[in-house]
Amino acid sequence: MMNKIKRGVSLYSYSGEYGRTMDLEDCFKDMYDMGATGIEILANSHIDSYPDLSDEYLEKWRYLCNKYHIEPVEYGHWIDTRLYKNRLIGDEEAREKLINDFKIANKLGFRILRTKLGVIDGQLTPVENWRELIKSVLPEAEKYNVIMCPEIHLPSVLTDKFVADYVDFIEETGTKYFGLNIDLSVFQNRFDIPGVTVYAPDCKHSQPEDIIPLLPYVKCIHAKFNKMDDDFNELTIPYKEIINVLKEEKWEGYLISEYEGENKDIPGYVSHELRKQHVMLKRLLGY
């Protein structure tokens, strides 16, 4: 039987070392050690010919995925709405950039996109015209077979109005090319652990069961983690309860590790933390 919940890694985790003490292949090697089978890249960080896709990169990408048995899972990209100092990005300009990302993602073998929208306030409410923007590229998303997924991240919670708006949009349009990426930071309930970077100390958090009604729309989950202990427990996010909900609800997809803790620039530190987290995930998943 195929395992329904799979383990992957976002190269964001390595951002303190990438390009300095680790290259692309080092990341793949590290993931292979952990038995992670899926990868998230950030287009704007990990494609060395971006915003173009060079033949050399494509060739290297296919070689690495094949050699280390890693499948492309999620392609991170942005709609940088505040592109200019004194004005917002134009509609056509945004469309062009989105379609360019669809093409690259498609060539690299990605189906799920983590589409990071610009926001307008401290609760991370997306820009007012997000519906028009997304609608304007749905035909191209279908053509290149990619699903745009905004990320729900702390300090937002799953019951925020804009999350319901995303679901309504999917239901109203009936589109298969827009979904959700939940970042497990929305469940973070400890902000007092030494060594945990706290961006929003007073922020609310969601309960594990809050994710249930959203699961049909959730294409990918960011397994955010801040601090592991040496008994392989994550200290800030209730992983056991969350994984249980996902298993009970028979959710299928990837948990993509995203390290957000300290010491990211110390060589080897994140690799070690990722291994600890994957011990935890293997134990909780039971495989």
């Binding site: 951002s15 290259d23 704007n44 960080s45 971006y50 709405t81 592109l83 610009g118 991370l124």
Partner: protein
């Protein structure tokens, strides 16, 4: 691969043109975790041994091309990758003297997914965030 510090030792030297030293250059990597379009860049001042070179007098060379700061503001189509350095060219007749120099560079980037009130860069303040700030390194001109 690049050096871990934002200010790179490699690439720091005086600039000679037609037999005359007209200034110096210093290379920086982007400390943000993703590359940015030039219009998202917020260039700041360069300071060498206390001497301030204002932000709008500095030429940024990215992908082998020179840009003034006002040219960069309009380039939402040119991309600075995190694996490439930007070469900052600073005009100073005679360049920098042989020996040690304390070099500071300030710059930041705009990120639209952060709340607007924190998505700012201040060239007059010394601070560090994950999307920009003040970087200093002791450097040598040979």
């Amino acid at each position: 691969m690049l050096e871990a510090e934002v200010i790179q030792y490699r690439g720091f030297h005086n600039i000679e043109e037609n037999g005359e030293v007209i200034g110096f250059q210093v290379c920086v990597r982007n400390n943000y975790y993703r590359g940015v379009w030039l219009s998202q860049l917020r260039p700041g001042r360069v300071v060498v041994d206390g001497e301030i070179f204002p932000w709008d007098t500095i030429i940024w060379n990215i992908n082998g091309k020179d840009y003034t700061t006002s040219e960069m503001e309009e380039r939402g189509d040119v991309f600075w990758r995190i694996t490439d350095v930007a070469t900052l060219k600073v005009m100073k007749k005679g360049g920098l003297a042989q020996g040690f120099h304390d070099v500071t560079v300030r710059f930041g980037v705009s990120c639209s997914y952060m709340p607007p009130e924190i998505d700012t860069f201040d060239d007059n303040a010394e601070y560090n965030t994950f999307f920009g700030g003040t970087y200093t390194r002791r450097m040598i001109i040979v």
